[in-house]
């Protein structure tokens, strides 16, 4: 039994949410409470398996671990006369994947808790929720591009429904925008993947890492195209960059994400902001730096500038928003800019900062959106001008809200600080001027977050909010857990940095610095 779990740990994590679908199928559709309870319990399975994975993972081993490989599809291709194309079901994780898988599992469970506020069609909701989880886990584990793409697409379809059915007033247009942007993004990604395959005859990521750099450096005999291999590879890289830029999102491809943040139900925004945005960052690191290091270096400067644009643009617009959800949406745009900066720095601390930011922002934005869900549940509004003085009746919620905001603006001792610090540290080494401009964003962040939080929580209490109750038991747990993680990473960053150390070094070794 134990060896079975060991051998198939990754598949078990990825597909255990499907168990939830089976169980839910048996529950009557009016029994909302039972379904919610089942859903939360089911998400504990991948969570505990991920914790086990984290514990069993050998952080001193630099290769992929817990690998699984089953042959799946065999295709005859004209360019490969002797052999056929094997598309295998291959999973594997390194330090980067492991931390993101754990993040996915944690946010998954907590957003299942937040789904308590869902008021209709629970069965369909949780079925889609579980499908979404399968997709997210799978992306972080996939060891070949075909699987990566399938899991990537698997997140889009449930997300469309989750926004369109359970969202707020303009949910449909948000869902459509989401579908079109991400549809185009993944279409471009597919073109890039298949083009890459057409050139290298493989879809396996570790194999590609070797082959792409060979193709870039030398002219290959028997090259069938008119354009030299290095240029073709560069085009493919740019296409991939575009696909992940949509997902991350990088300015000016970000507008869909604002709509989703505003219109989707808070539990789904927790997942979206906490995990789905990170798929873009993960893709940039895993495929951008991992497979295309030389091409990445060529555009690093542009990416750094785009990162600064993201930071400042997001921060300035966040400042003028009246809707709390919009403030946080623009704040996410701004914070994704920091991720981009860190990646573009292409050195140890920059990359470390970017990954820290990915995880830290995942935790922080989940926390903040959870709190917005709690507030919205009680007041039915998220407009800053309508709220105010909430702290009087909801001291706990408001306290955590303030703490979350502090973490987000990068108060030392919280995860946000260490992430931003490392990212900027990295960038100052490579592009000092860009970094200097980017740092201004930190000041702006402090301004808009404090404005938003203080205006909602402090000041004279409005009469209409006098009856509000503070956090209930089930609401306290997620807040406490998320805040706990945020402080843990802030105070004791080694818990994460040791996990990532070898993976980052391997990525850097490819760049040659």
């Amino acid at each position: 039994m134990m060896t079975f779990i060991e051998d198939h740990l990754l598949s078990l994590i990825a597909f255990s949410p499907l168990l939830g679908i089976l169980v839910l199928a048996l529950v009557q559709k009016q029994k909302a409470g039972l379904m919610k309870a089942i859903a939360i319990v089911i998400t504990l399975i991948p969570l505990s398996l991920s914790l086990y994975l984290f514990g069993a993972f050998d952080f001193n081993d630099q290769g992929y671990q817990f690998e699984e490989e089953v042959s799946w599809i065999e295709l005859q291709m004209p360019s490969m006369e002797q052999q056929s194309l094997q598309i295998n079901y291959e999973l594997g994780v390194d330090g980067l994947s492991v931390s993101l898988i754990l993040l996915t599992a944690v946010v998954g469970t907590l957003s299942a808790v937040a789904s308590i506020y869902i008021k209709k069609r629970w069965k369909a909701y949780f079925i889609l929720f579980f499908l979404l989880q399968v997709g997210m886990f799978g992306v972080f584990m996939a060891k070949n591009l075909f699987l990566f793409f399938i899991f990537f697409e698997l997140t889009i379809i449930p997300m469309f429904f989750l926004i369109a059915i359970w969202g707020y007033l303009n949910r449909e247009s948000a869902a459509n925008t989401f579908l079109i942007y991400n549809g185009i993004g993944s279409a471009v990604m597919l073109i890039a993947f298949v083009a890459l395959f057409a050139i290298t005859d493989t879809l396996n990521i570790p194999a590609l890492e070797v082959m792409v750099s060979q193709l870039t450096s030398q002219s290959v005999s028997g090259w069938p195209y008119a354009i030299p291999p290095g240029d073709v590879i560069f085009f493919i890289f740019v296409a991939l960059l575009f696909a992940f830029a949509v997902k991350l999102p990088i300015f000016p491809l970000h507008s869909w994400m604002l709509k989703v943040h505003v219109e989707a139900p808070p539990a789904i925004v927790m997942i979206h902001s906490g995990i789905l945005l990170k798929l873009g960052a993960y893709g940039l690191i895993r495929l951008g730096i991992g497979v295309f290091p030389e091409q990445f270096e060529r555009v690093a400067y542009i990416l750094a500038i785009l990162g600064v644009v993201n930071i400042l643009y997001g921060a300035v617009l966040a400042f003028v928003q009246n809707d709390l959800k919009k403030v946080l949406a623009y704040s996410s745009v701004s914070h994704m800019g920091i991720v981009l900066l860190g990646i573009a720095a292409l050195n140890y601390s920059g990359l470390q900062g970017a990954i820290f930011q990915v995880i830290s922002h995942g935790l922080i934005s989940s926390l903040l959106f959870f709190i917005i869900g709690v507030i919205y549940e009680r007041t039915e509004t998220s407009m800053i001008s309508d709220l105010g003085g909430l702290a009087k009746n909801m001291p706990f919620v408001c306290g955590v809200f303030l703490a979350g905001a502090m973490a987000n603006l990068g108060l030392p001792g919280m995860s946000g600080f260490i992430s931003e610090f490392l990212s900027f540290l990295g960038l100052f080494n490579t592009y000092p001027v860009v970094a200097a401009i980017g740092v201004l964003g930190i000041i702006l962040t402090a301004v808009y977050l404090l404005r938003a939080v203080l205006n909602t929580t402090f000041g004279p209490a409005k009469e209409e909010w006098a009856h509000l109750s503070d956090a209930r038991g089930f609401e306290v747990v997620p807040m406490a857990i998320l805040l706990g993680f945020i402080v843990l990473i802030g105070v004791y960053p080694s818990v994460l940095s040791e996990t990532l150390d070898l993976s980052i070094q391997i990525f850097l070794a490819r760049i040659g610095g």
Binding site: Q76, A124, I156, A195
Partner: protein
């Protein structure tokens, strides 16, 4: 030809055709002698049984060596068997759909409806097995004439009449153009046998008749574009699809289209596969693939873009089927060596996903009395099963994983890039992204709009079709290599070249 020669032919290879022919004849006689009061459903069941038996014989013929009879006009090879399976399975599903669709007051000639489907299938089967332009043409015409009538079967409906009329006129023109093209081929080679044509066309090419050969190629292709509903002969599709009885729409989009592809593949691959003896290059195709590629690209774009604007579901699916034909044409345009695998896989995938979708369209439009998109409003609340299966078909048609449609497109796309045809591959993917919008439009109706609350009635016929098609769509999507292995080990589709 004396009796002895006639008897010495291995008629067994034609058994499926004989069965369909026999059953169709028997049913028409039975209809004649049966009293008016008797329910014509019996004819439907007998026809279905006939298709089943024919299917068994086709399966029995799998892995038989290549054989031909009647002076090489009729040929049994892996290619023919593969297509016959598609035709017969498609026809069987259409029969199941028709069982409760065809009502006496709407379709006075109830029995004719069923045996005309049989004759249409017979035509398609003959076409798939032909190695001669004349038999091919006869098969095509048998199929076409039967479908012309089937489209207009609800003769008291104006729309049905209109669509039958348009279909006949357009079809007649297309047939004439095809025939005109074929006559050039005959004129150049003096034979109607495709394999002999293949030997003689290069000689004609060397003698300087290249322009005439190209002219013949274009005429034939344009004429056949009608049957598979690609540009420039796609204009009939929306009107005919909308006016025809829904099961017949499904038949046109799947069986009739597959037959058109069978004709195109067999005819062009065999007779126009001209090698220049001097350079050893494929002559005609190297210059016509661009032309076909452009047709495929325009078809994909136009089909998908116009589908965006449709409010009638059947019209929308008509344009969707135009676009899908464009995708299937891509392997042929890039002349990939594995094009037959790719096209056959996609046709099988298309068979399941499209007939499945039409089954639900039929159930919904019968229940709501409208074929507008709004008829789907709130389907999820009425019948979650239908809504979920319809979503699977739509997702498959849109080409999202893990469905048959995704893998089919992926394979075609891979083949196109592998052959170095980047622009066509890009058009294909962009077309798919456009198609998300209208396929998800149906999904939006089903899940997001309020509609009536009473649950949707589904008969056993439709239910069976939905279950089978869902199963097929998912199975081919998750385990595509089983299907590909099955094709590869059981049908050597490439033996058409021998």
């Amino acid at each position: 030809m004396d009796l002895e020669t006639l008897l010495s032919y291995p008629w067994g290879i034609m058994m499926p055709e004989f069965i369909i022919l026999g059953v169709a004849t028997f049913l028409s006689l039975l209809d004649l002698f049966l009293k008016d009061k008797v329910d014509r459903k019996i004819i439907a069941w007998l026809g279905l049984a006939g298709i089943g038996v024919a299917l068994l014989f086709v399966i029995k013929n799998i892995n038989e060596p290549i054989q031909h009879i009647l002076y090489e006009t009729f040929r049994l090879d892996g290619f023919a068997i593969g297509f016959k399976l598609i035709f017969l399975v498609g026809a069987a599903l259409v029969f199941l759909l028709s069982l409760d669709y065809i009502k006496k007051k709407d379709t006075p000639h109830e029995a004719e409806y069923y045996y005309l489907i049989l004759t249409a299938v017979l035509g398609a089967m003959i076409l798939a097995s032909s190695a001669d332009m004349i038999t091919m043409f006869i098969g095509l015409e048998l199929l076409s004439l039967s479908t012309y009538i089937l489209v207009g079967m609800r003769k008291k409906r104006l729309q049905s009449n209109e669509s039958a009329f348009k279909y006949v006129v357009n079809g007649g023109i297309a047939t004439a153009i095809t025939l005109y093209g074929l006559s050039f081929v005959y004129g150049l080679t003096g034979t109607t046998n495709l394999y002999v044509v293949a030997e003689r066309l290069p000689i004609a090419l060397q003698q300087g008749y290249d322009l005439v050969i190209f002219f013949a190629f274009f005429l034939t292709f344009v004429g056949l574009a009608f049957k598979i509903a690609v540009i420039p002969f796609h204009m009939w599709t929306p009107d005919v699809y909308q006016g025809a009885p829904t099961p017949i729409t499904a038949f046109l989009s799947v069986v009739s289209k597959a037959a058109g592809f069978a004709f195109i593949l067999r005819f062009f691959l065999i007779s126009f596969n001209i090698y220049d003896p001097a350079s050893g290059q494929i002559m005609v195709f190297s210059q016509t693939t661009v032309f076909i590629g452009i047709i495929a690209a325009i078809t994909i774009i136009v089909g998908n873009v116009i589908a965006l604007r449709q409010t009638n579901v059947k019209r929308m699916f008509a344009y969707s089927s135009v676009a899908q034909a464009g995708y299937i044409l891509v392997p042929f345009a890039v002349f990939s060596p594995y094009m037959l695998d790719m096209m056959l896989f996609y046709l099988v995938a298309y068979l399941f996903m499209n007939i499945g979708a039409f089954a639900i369209i039929q159930a919904v439009s019968q229940d709501t009395g409208t074929e507008e998109l709004s008829g789907f409003a709130g389907l999820y609340h009425r019948s979650p099963f239908q809504a979920v299966t319809m979503s699977i078909f739509l997702i498959s048609l849109a080409g999202l994983p893990v469905t048959a449609g995704f893998f089919g497109k992926f394979y075609i796309f891979l083949g196109s890039l592998d052959a170095g045809n980047w622009w066509l591959a890009t058009v294909m993917v962009l077309g798919s992204v456009i198609s998300y919008y209208y396929y998800f439009g149906v999904i939006r109706q089903m899940y997001l709009r309020a509609g009536s609350e009473t649950s949707l009635n589904t008969t056993y016929g439709i239910g069976t079709v939905i279950v089978l098609c869902t199963f097929g769509t998912l199975l081919l999507g998750v385990f595509p290599s089983y299907a590909l292995d099955f094709f590869a080990s059981n049908f050597n589709i490439y033996d058409i070249f021998r």
